[in-house]
């Protein structure tokens, strides 16, 4: 009872601090000479502007034998055919000039920011799959008794962890990309998965080594080979223990994917930069981009927490 009351108090303090921070950010935003204009961001997320059909040539609007509207150019070239189902804002015989709006279609499309978000999701998921596969292999090599395998794994991990991801992306794109003729998206996936795999490998190594040696001994004493003991006894237990650090690494992967924008992959970050260069609302756009990343990482961390709770059945 007493403890509960204190918790209420401290929860209140927490909310007060958060509200205070929000208020000070708001006031700081007011003080600077910047006209906040959040509704300018909306079309870049969901674009509900009508799609306009414009004339391509100067000419007159007429209907052909089949009743299909066409624009016959003055200079006698090929007529521009128009979809007959459109509700035209002109009637037969009207003169039109190139660029005139002939009709407009109601529509809702995803804006460039959401398109960028989809690219970020795509590149993150593909890189994650490769990172887990490579990381598992390197992690197993890392705990192997064979010095060749072990040293290869150590070298890989040290080289990758010891150099910045940004530099690795440039090397993969400009050097490997040139040698192997990689597309920029492929180069981005290679750089991200190779980078993340080094960390995944270390997490898996730590997970395997955290399983008591008696587990391997028990499995081997039952006649299981080393690979079978790994697959059926050690890795399932290690997997459970590595989930929390793995979640952190996957969240890092999503955030690190913003770096591929430097090789002109239009991910969420690059889309944000492009939008800003067109509408000059940098503050709103960057806040929106940050929020979209946060939605993505929160969803992932929620999913992994659920998985953890399900695996806790045997505890």
């Amino acid at each position: 009872m007493h403890v509960n009351q204190k918790n209420w108090l401290w929860n209140g303090v927490f909310i007060a601090i958060i509200l205070g921070l929000c208020a000070s950010v708001y006031l700081a935003g007011k003080r600077i000479d910047y006209s906040w204009n959040w509704d300018r961001v909306v079309p870049f997320i969901i674009n509900s502007d009508p799609l306009e059909i414009v004339a391509e040539v100067d000419g007159t609007l007429e209907f052909n034998e089949q009743g299909q509207p066409q624009i016959y150019p003055y200079d006698g070239g090929d007529p521009q055919l128009i979809d007959p189902t459109l509700a035209l804002s002109l009637s037969e015989g009207d003169m039109v000039y190139a660029g005139d709006v002939l009709a407009s279609i109601e529509q809702t499309r995803i804006g460039p920011l959401l398109e960028g978000l989809l690219v970020t999701i795509e590149i993150s998921i593909i890189s994650l799959l490769f990172a887990v596969v490579i990381g598992l292999m390197v992690g197993l090599m890392r705990v192997s008794v064979n010095p060749a395998l072990r040293n290869l794994a150590i070298t890989y991990i040290e080289v990758i962890r010891g150099t910045p991801l940004l530099v690795q992306i440039f090397i993969v794109y400009f050097f490997l990309g040139t040698v192997l003729e990689l597309e920029r998206f492929t180069a981005g996936v290679v750089a991200l998965s190779v980078f993340t795999a080094a960390y995944v490998a270390e997490i898996i190594r730590a997970g395997i080594q955290s399983i008591p040696s008696g587990q391997m001994e028990a499995a081997r004493s039952l006649g299981m080979s080393y690979p079978k003991a790994m697959i059926y006894v050690i890795l399932p237990q290690a997997f459970k223990r590595t989930l929390p650090p793995m979640a952190g690494q996957f969240i890092n992967l999503i955030k690190d994917s913003s770096l591929v924008s430097v090789i002109a992959i239009t991910d969420l970050t690059k889309a944000g930069r492009e939008v800003i260069s067109g509408n000059f609302a940098p503050f709103e756009v960057w806040f929106t981009v940050a929020l979209l990343y946060l939605v993505l990482t929160s969803a992932l961390s929620w999913a992994i927490q659920r998985l953890e709770r399900r695996l806790a059945a045997s505890d």
Binding site: A218, R220, S221, L222, G223, K228, Y232, Q237, A313
Partner: protein, 255 residues
């Protein structure tokens, strides 16, 4: 019947023949010094000795959890260290029970018993499950088969571990201080299972501190100290007429 039928020795030949077994750890510790002994089919051998005497190490050489540095070990006529020997096939015939149970925590009790037969022997799942249920009944764990190890007491876990080792239908069972990690009131239930196993004629090598078990169940008792096998005797002479001065000293400390 087994993979080793072709060179199966006569039934009278010992099932375990250890000759001059040497074990030196990389840190220089000389854990086993020319240990030689044999175990006959159906015999129950108990190994006693102070801690650090090498008795557990010797037991672990019998299924190659410890690799030896000298000597030889034959299991049912098969040289453990000859080139053609498949150690995994050999281990299927030598069950082992550990001090700390080492049950697989991510599997239920029944799954623990079924895992190796399913993944190693390639037996029919139905047959494996039936056999596993029989074994659980035999060790008195048929009521707790769906429990995870973390929900079982130490004594219950150790009984599941015995069932798990028996599931591979081994010819030999090794017990490495099976009751040392148990609360005193649970020692009896594990020893009872071991006694019934001995009564069925299972070949058993047991490292333990349970003198009562040694005296009651053992056909032969070995005494080890500092990596050497000092005494091999029947339990009556071993306990009532100890010959070796080191053994006398050891027994006087216990009784």
């Amino acid at each position: 019947m087994t993979k080793h039928d072709s060179n199966q020795p006569a039934a009278e030949a010992p099932i375990i023949i250890a000759t001059d077994v040497d074990k030196i750890y990389p840190n220089g510790c000389h854990a086993l010094k020319a240990v030689s002994t044999t175990v006959a089919r159906g015999e129950v051998v108990v190994i006693l000795g102070p801690s650090g005497s090498g008795k557990s190490t010797f037991l672990r050489t019998l299924n190659q959890l410890e690799v030896i540095n000298g000597g030889s070990i034959l299991i049912d006529g098969v040289d453990m260290y000859s080139k053609g020997t498949n150690i995994n096939q050999l281990r299927e015939q030598v069950g082992m029970v550990f001090q700390n149970f080492n049950l697989f925590p991510h599997k239920t009790a029944l799954e623990n018993v079924m895992l190796a037969p399913l993944k190693v022997s390639g037996r029919e799942p139905k047959e494996v499950e039936e056999h596993a249920r029989d074994l659980m009944y035999k060790v008195g764990m048929d009521q707790r088969m769906q429990n995870y190890p973390s929900h079982l007491s130490g004594g219950q876990q150790q009984r599941v571990a015995i069932a798990r080792a028996l599931a591979m239908k081994p010819k030999i069972m090794l017990f490495d201080e099976p009751t040392s990690a148990l609360d005193p009131e649970m020692v009896g239930e594990v020893l009872d299972v071991m006694k019934s196993l001995a009564a069925e004629g299972m070949t058993m090598v047991v490292v333990t501190h349970e003198m009562g078990f040694a005296r009651e169940v053992a056909d032969r008792v070995l005494f080890m100290e500092e990596g050497a096998l000092l005494v091999e005797d029947n339990p009556d002479d071993f306990f009532d007429h100890p010959s070796h001065p080191r053994l006398k000293q050891f027994l006087s400390k216990i009784f």
